[in-house]
């Protein structure tokens, strides 16, 4: 009988192992990461399930009005990020997967012809299909045939949105998508500007449209520092009621992330006092963003504003988040921490005035 017992215990262990596997396998790829906002996770989960009704309800709630997270993040953007997770998930066989998503979203659009979201989702899948050919690497590394497919799918997305413009373009998410498409297809600035303005007419609180227009103005996309600076100042002015000068800081921070990196204060027309005021305005209105405070500290380091950096590092204490410290973030953080600890005499840079002496349209 003891033998029977041990045999059954062994069976039990095997069963337990298979049960553990079953639990582990329950995870859906790309469903959520620790850093995801709850709305992002909710949207992604609903999309993975094919629960269009839930997605539609969420979109209807968010597509109008001010929906700010406590850290000033756009809930509409968190929702869109969730939607993007499904077509962005890379499968072993990406082509049949993406084609199935195209078919599904097309079916949703046929079943819900008056839903802007249904049409936008179909276009979104086409855009992600395009990027699956392009990839995220340098342009020089993209094979010529892949460029063709990239453009073909982006153009299909445009054609689709044009064909359903009466419904899709009632929703600023379509304009946000068109800005991405237009950037990929190198549309001219005026066209993109018009798209952004039309989107803001549909939803003046869709602040992500300001960020969407930023990308094509960056030097790496053919832009120049002067135009970029004019744009950022105008955007800051338009959003002053909600953010003070906050949008100035946020847009330049994105410009640093996407283009200028550690050379933001050398290669762009950013004005540090204005940027600093932008961060202070954001802190006064939305005091719950450790991420932004980390970013502020990093920018203070780049701007060689040691007192501000020292104060922010002290304030952050154990809440320092290296991920917010630009390219090669851990090393950037370490370098800034070292510089903050140096005495002013040790630093040649300290004797130099910060970039605020650079010609600034705001001070003119």
């Amino acid at each position: 009988m003891t033998k029977v017992y041990h045999t059954l215990r062994a069976s039990l262990r095997r069963l337990a192992a298979s049960a553990l596997c079953a639990f582990a396998c329950a995870a859906v790829p790309g469903l959520a990461s620790a850093a995801d906002q709850p709305l992002t996770t909710e949207a992604a989960q609903a999309f993975w399930k094919g629960d269009f009704d839930t997605l539609e309800k969420l979109n209807n709630r968010l597509k109008r009005g001010k929906h700010f997270a406590p850290d000033a993040g756009s809930e509409l953007e968190y929702f869109r990020l969730g939607l993007g997770k499904v077509p962005q998930s890379v499968a072993d066989h990406n082509e049949p997967y993406l084609r199935e998503l195209e078919a599904l979203t097309l079916q949703w659009a046929a079943e819900h012809p008056k839903s802007s979201l249904a049409h936008i989702l179909h276009a979104e899948v086409l855009v992600q299909h395009a990027w699956s050919y392009r990839g995220g690497g340098y342009a020089k590394d993209v094979p010529p045939e892949a460029w063709k497919d990239f453009r073909k799918y982006l153009e299909r997305a445009v054609e689709y949105l044009k064909a359903h413009a009466d419904v899709a373009l009632t929703d600023s998410s379509a304009h946000a998508l068109l800005l991405r498409i237009g950037t990929g297809l190198s549309w001219d600035r005026d066209t993109l500007w018009t798209i952004q303005q039309e989107g803001l007419k549909r939803n003046p609180d869709d602040v992500m449209l300001y960020f969407g227009m930023l990308t094509p103005l960056l030097p790496k996309w053919g832009g120049d520092p002067e135009t970029l600076d004019r744009y950022i100042r105008e955007a800051a002015k338009e959003t002053q009621a909600d953010y003070g000068m906050g949008m100035y800081a946020r847009l330049y921070a994105v410009a640093a992330d996407e283009n200028f990196g550690h050379a933001l204060f050398e290669d762009s027309l950013v004005d540090w006092p204005t940027m600093k005021k932008g961060y202070e305005d954001m802190q006064a209105r939305f005091p719950n963003s450790l991420g932004r405070r980390n970013h502020f500290a990093h920018m203070a380091c780049l701007a060689k504003d040691r007192p501000t950096l020292v104060a922010l590092l002290a304030e952050l204490g154990t809440n320092i988040d290296a991920s917010q410290w630009g390219p090669n973030p851990q090393r950037s953080l370490e370098a800034c921490q070292r510089w903050a600890k140096e005495s002013p005499d040790e630093s040649k840079d300290e004797k130099k005035p910060a970039k605020k002496v650079r010609a600034s349209p705001a001070s003119l």
């Binding site: 009988m1 003891t2 029977v4 017992y5 059954l8 215990r9 069976s11 039990l12 095997r14 069963l15 337990a16 298979s18 049960a19 079953a22 639990f23 396998c25 329950a26 859906v28 790829p29 999309f47 993975w48 399930k49 094919g50 629960d51 499904v86 998930s89 499968a91 072993d92 066989h93 990406n94 049949p96 997967y97 084609r99 199935e100 998503l101 078919a103 599904l104 097309l106 079916q107």
Partner: protein
């Protein structure tokens, strides 16, 4: 069917050796989560066995704490589960005694293990019969409506070997609140059928829903050339993106595939009752599903010659299942097997009498298909498109004689 409900105290004394160890071992047979919280075993071996059976059965009626249910529905479901377990608790001693008497008819006293395993098999089968049985018209219509339209009804949590009850309650939650009372009443009614033969059980769908679904998906994408419903993204990712076959899918994904196939079947004009029956077979947890290969010998495949008999499935051997499977093999022009499909199942299971042993009917399917399509196997040249058909007889006597735990030749 004998459903008398004598209390353990009135049963004649049992004198099975080693009962205490056996009962505790079987209590752990399908997991240990509940063993730790188990009440003290009685000295009475009959009570020990009934307690062990209760514990495992309770797993199918315990709603996982993470299951997304609204509190009122959860409370109502817990009440139903409690009532049902209380009723079965009264039946179990009688079932054990019934089995002991039945096995004593062979002339020698049955072993404690054989009695226990037989009643365990009976419980498995009751769970399976319950999954297959149709409810009243209102219940059927409401269930179809949910499966047609509600995403997320497959999102059960907890122990995937025992999600029977949770799946049903999750479907009820997806219905309008006004329908809940009637649906819960129907659930009570269906549970009251435990222990009785079910009339008019539908036969196994042929082909199985998952086989039909995969065959359709292999034809191509959902477009004008291949009109069909598109898969929900999670399935599109795993089935098309990762190329997983049905067996490799997570239990939740298998359920989603079955739901999708029900929707596609309805779109194609299949009768709702047939589509729902196929869904029930597709999602039914059989003995194989619950036990997997837990009872297979690790080296069962080693040294198996293609021409020889296949290994006897461990679960079947454990529960003493015997029977005959009928298989159709599609052949290429040279007589090599392309695909095998089990089209007939006739099995006998100790402990299950007077009703179909549905929980065990597919216990030989995988082994049969594997044997029929084994590399190197050839059949005679096919006559047209007619598949080659043969039967496999699964006999434990042969199994014992060969001492290699193998089934019979076709």
């Amino acid at each position: 069917m004998n459903t008398h409900s004598k209390t353990p105290a009135r049963l004649p004394a049992l004198a099975f050796p080693g009962m205490a160890l056996l009962a505790s071992a079987f209590a752990c047979m399908f997991g240990s989560a509940h063993a730790a919280a188990a009440p003290e075993f009685s000295d009475d071996p009959r009570v020990q066995m009934a307690q062990a059976l209760h514990r495992d059965l309770a797993r199918a009626f315990t709603l996982d704490k993470d299951l997304a249910l609204d509190p009122a529905l959860r409370a109502a479901a817990d009440d139903i589960a409690k009532e049902h377990l209380t009723r079965i608790d009264k039946l179990l001693p009688a079932w054990l005694e019934d089995e002991r008497v039945h096995q004593s008819g062979a002339g020698k006293p049955p072993s404690s293990k054989s009695v226990y395993v037989a009643v365990y098999a009976r419980l498995f089968n009751e769970l399976a019969l319950w999954q297959l049985e149709a409810g009243d018209v209102q219940y059927e219509n409401a269930t179809l409506a949910v499966l047609r339209t509600a995403p997320g009804v497959c999102d059960v949590t907890g122990d995937y070997n025992f999600t029977d009850f949770a799946s049903r309650i999750l479907r009820i939650q997806a219905l309008p609140a006004t329908e809940r009372k009637a649906m819960l009443a129907s659930e009570r009614q269906l549970l009251a059928h435990w222990g009785q033969p079910r009339a008019n059980l539908a036969p196994w769908p042929d082909p199985l829903p998952q086989q039909a679904a995969y065959a359709l998906l292999q034809q191509g994408p959902a477009d004008a050339d291949h009109p069909r419903l598109a898969l929900p993204p999670r399935l599109a990712y795993t089935v098309l993106g990762q190329g997983k076959d049905y067996a490799a899918l997570h239990p939740v994904e298998r359920c989603i595939l079955q739901q999708w196939w029900l929707q596609e079947s309805l779109r194609r004009g299949v009768a709702p009752a047939a589509a729902l029956s196929a869904f029930r077979y597709g999602t039914m947890l059989t003995a194989i599903d619950r036990a997997g290969n837990a009872f297979d010998k690790p080296d069962a495949e080693a040294g198996t010659h293609p021409a020889g008999p296949p290994p006897y499935p461990g679960v079947a051997a454990h529960f003493g299942v015997t029977g005959v499977t009928t298989v159709n093999v599609r052949l290429d022009p040279a007589g090599k097997p392309l695909q095998a499909v089990v089209i007939g199942r006739k099995v006998d299971v100790p402990g299950i009498r007077g009703m179909r042993p549905v929980a065990f009917e597919n216990v030989f399917d995988a082994a049969t298909v594997k044997y029929a399509t084994q590399d190197g196997r050839t059949y005679g040249k096919p006559s047209g498109d007619t598949p080659y058909k043969f039967q496999m007889t699964w006999s434990l006597d042969d199994n014992k004689r060969s001492k290699a735990s193998q089934g019979a030749k076709p």
